[in-house]
Each structure stands twice: as C-alpha cells, then as structure tokens.
Amino acid sequence: MLKEIAQGMAFTLRQMFRKPITLNYPEEQKPTFPRHRGRHMLHRYDNGLERCIGCELCAGACPVGCIYVLPAENDPEHPVSPGERYAARYEINLMRCIYCGYCAEACPTEAITLGPRYDLADYRREHTVVTKDELLESWPSFTTGGAKPSVLGAGADQRGHEKLESGVDPVKAWDAFEESHIHPDEATPGHGGLEVTPPTVKRTGSGEGESR
C-alpha cells in the first residue's frame, strides 16, 4: 500500500509543475476547427465590393426562416456589389438559427459563410439579431488583401453593439439604433455608411484554427 501511495503522491506533485490546461476564457479562447459553423459573416471581393447581391436565396433556404434581406438597386456610379442589387439590410436572428449552414450552401456568390466565432450570448435579446454592420467584413478585409485571417472570424471586430441605456424600451431602442447606423442611401463600398472598426479582440494562445 505504501508504494502505491508514494506513486500517487509523486504523480500529483509532477502534475503541479505542468502548465494548466484551462483557458482563461474571455481573454483566451480556444481556436475552432476550420470548418466550425459559428456565427455568420458576409464577405467582400478583393476590390471591396460586397459579394452579396441581395438575391434572398439564403433566406429561402433557411429552414427556420431567420434571415431577413432587404434588397436595393445599385447606383451604377457607386455600386455596393457587382450585381444589379445589393442587400440594404441583412439581418439574422441568432436565437433562432440552428447553424445548419444551408444559407452558405444556397448562396450563389459565396457571400455568406459560417465563421468560427461562438461567444454569442448577450444580455439583451435584441442584440442577438445581428445586422449587416456586424456581419460584414470590415474593409480592408481579413480574408482577402493579404491580411492574416483572424482566428476569431470576420465578425470578431464588428460587434457594433452600442451600450443602450437601461430602462429604455427595447424595441424603440433597437429601432433607434438601426436608424442611427444604417443609411442605405449613403452606402458605399467601404462600409455601409459605418466607420471601420479595427480588430479589438485580444487573442492569446496558439492560433491553429483558421477562418476561411
């Protein structure tokens, strides 16, 4: 018995000098597999034009109907996307989404894909409906143009959530938020009328996972 106890004690002592496996979660995140189906992202072409042509095929393919696309005509002088139309509004209700990836398969231009990001919980229900601001790659993009892809996915830098005052009617607040942020008429290839937010998510640990 003494031998076994000594063995056990030696083992636990050895463990003490190993590096902990646990990640300090919000600061350190585990990289996902390359094909992980997490939160969606909308991509751009190399020249900055949006891939999405507002065809609504993704919305049609979605088994739970959680995608809302509002198409608009492109201004030939300042096109947002290469096609005739582009998506003026593009919203996905993440509470409803089952992360099946059908939307990505249906898309003719590979505009929408499912990214590696998975920290989707929020204190406010209305924040779980992600808008185009949050989904769209910022410009210059991560996935093209030689920039290193973020292991957290294109959506990582684009939360766009504003701190809403507590005590505000959620619906009204959400509408106000949208109105202040989305200007379909002003949309340019840069960013649908929005400022480009540089990546802010701090990343530690090894980055084996890649976003596509």
């Binding site: 004690m9 636990t12 590096k19």
Partner: protein, 339 residues
C-alpha cells in the same frame, strides 16, 4: 515574570500578543483556503482563483465579504442554543490552542524574559491537546443541533473518529515526552538543539501526522463531512458566518496540527544547521509549518477517502499498536542508556 516590567507592562504585552495571534490566525486561515484552492488547481491542471487582485491574492478577502452578506438560514426544529454555540466552540477552541504554541525561542531583555507564546505554562502540550480535543464538541453538537440526518451522521462519525485517533495522537506524542522529559513546549524545542526528534522518533512523527489528519478531519480521513455521502456532514445546515466559523476552525486546526508537529518533531524555531541561526526563529517556524501544510493539501488531492470501517480498523489495529510499541521501545532504550 510580572516583577521585571510591572503589572501594566505585563498586561500590555499579553494584550499585544493576543492581538497578534488573532490577526495571524485569521490571516493564516484565510490564506490557507487560498493555498488550498491554488494547490488543488495546479494539481488538477487548472488555474485556481486568479481574478480578484494580482494572482487572485485578494480572493480570501472577497470570500469573507461574501460570507458576511450571505443570508443566514437555519433549519426548523433546531436546538437554538446549541446551534449557535457549536460554531462558536469551533472557532474559539481553535484559537485557544494556538495561544500555547511557541513560535520563537524566549527572548531575554534585561531581567525580563519574553515568551513568544501567549500563555506560557509548563504543561503547554497538555493544554493544546485538551483544546484540540474540545473541537469535537463543536462538530458533534453542531451535527446534533441542526435536526438533520446528514449533520447527525457527520457528528456521530466525528465522535467515533476522534476517540480512535486521540489515543494514537497521545501515544505518538508520548515518545517525545519521554525523550524530552517535559510537557513545556519551549523546553521540548530546546532539547532538540542539534538533533531534531524526527530522527529519533520517525515512527512517532508519521503516527502523529496521520492521526493529525484524522483529527483535523482532512482527507483521506474527512468522514465527518464526506461530501459525496453526507452533503457537507456536520455543517450541512450552517450558512453565512456560522459556516465561516467552522471553515475557519478547520484551517486553524490544520495550522495547529502542523505547529505541534513542527514543535515536537521538527525542532520548532530552530534552524536546521547551526550556521543558519542568523535567520530569526519565527521564519524557520513559518517555513516548517508551511511545508507541512503543503503536504496536507497535497495528500488531500492525492488520496481518496477511507471507508468508515477501514478507518476504525486502521486507527485501532495499526496506529494504536504501533504507538504503544514506540513507547515501549523508547522507554527501554532510555532505561538501558541510563543504567
């Protein structure tokens, strides 16, 4: 003692020592919980507390604040007086026992000798043993008063366990008493100058340490609170500061058990080699108890809990005969050398 410094000087020193001991004991207990969580975390490849303050060092403080503000719930049908009394006993006797532990050798200033233990009695060892044994009342009464089957079982187990291990502790210590010929903690340490008793009484040291684990309700002998069977054993029904008292008492008891082991076997405040004696005795004492405390935590996260009957068997059939044998051998050797 009173003569050299006058009555009020004596009172002042006693009060000062009491305050220091109280602060030391409270801090030690709080940071034992931190150490336990940190060591266990590293053994299990986790990080442990690391959010409050640098390295999580303020975690115990946060815990105390949390415990203060917890709702104080109590079961129906409890024995009101005993329910309140039990945790108080736990906290009080643990601190009492600490009063007789010499953390440093006596310092002589002029004609006045400063003893570093609060109450310097010539039967200090006996006093400490009496106080630590009183701790079982808190556990047993707490278990009984709470009117809950888990608590009661925890209390009963504790009483049975204490009876089995108290004897082993006494027999293990007896060897040291024979060697030093004194119950005075300071004299026991002074007798160890040059050769610590652990080298003369290795068996007694192991017996004491094992029985000490059982006395302190530490794994692998934590049957009174066996969380997988008894909820939390005797303190299942306690909450808020009452629980905190039990919690405090458990950690202080650990410190006391390690202090006794240090004093009796590891030469107390004495440095391991004579040339290291420029380092103050308190430091040596702290280093030694820290090592023992670490061993206790380390054991806790290595060994599984004993089954109840095996615990009893182990106590009565292994520890007790070994202790007796140790006394006989020690006595015979001493007698032969004297003859």
């Amino acid at each position: 003692m009173v003569g050299a410094i006058g009555f009020w000087g004596w009172v002042g020193i006693v009060v000062l020592k009491a305050v220091i001991i109280l602060i030391f004991v409270a801090t030690a207990a709080a940071y034992m919980s931190y150490a336990e969580r940190k060591v266990s975390a590293r053994i299990q490849l986790r990080h442990g507390p690391n959010r409050v303050g640098p390295l999580g060092l303020l975690q115990p403080l946060a815990d105390v604040v949390k415990l203060f503000f917890k709702e104080n719930t109590a079961p129906k049908g409890r024995e009101r007086f005993l329910f309140l009394l039990a945790p108080s006993i736990a906290g009080a006797v643990a601190i009492f026992a600490f009063a007789a532990i010499p953390v440093n050798g006596p310092t002589t200033i002029g004609s006045f000798t400063l003893h570093w233990d609060l109450i310097h009695v010539n039967v200090g060892l006996l006093f400490i043993l009496a106080m630590t044994s009183l701790g079982v009342y808190s556990i047993f009464l707490g278990g009984y008063a709470a009117n809950s089957k888990y608590s009661l079982l925890g209390g009963l187990r504790s009483a049975a366990q204490l009876i089995s291990y108290e004897m082993a502790v006494a027999f293990a210590i007896m060897g040291v008493i024979i060697l030093s010929g004194s119950l005075d903690m300071e004299q026991i340490v002074t007798k160890q100058t040059g050769l610590w008793f652990i080298f003369l009484q290795p068996l007694a040291f192991f017996l004491y340490f094992i029985a000490g684990l059982a006395e302190g309700n530490r794994l692998p002998f934590d049957l009174p609170e066996a969380e997988s069977e008894l909820g939390a054993g005797y303190h299942t029904e306690y909450s808020s500061m009452k629980f905190a008292f039990y919690f405090l008492a458990e950690y202080i008891n650990m410190v006391i058990i390690c202090s006794i082991a240090t004093t009796l076997f590891l030469g107390g405040w004495l440095p391991p080699f004579a040339f290291l004696s420029f380092i103050p005795g308190v430091i040596w004492y702290l280093v030694k108890i820290s090592l023992l405390l670490f061993t206790m935590i380390w054991i806790r996260f290595t060994l599984p809990r004993f089954r109840y009957d095996r615990l009893m068997n182990f106590g009565w059939k292994v520890l007790l005969p070994l202790g007796l044998m140790n006394i006989v051998v020690t006595g015979v050797v001493i007698a032969l050398r004297a003859a």
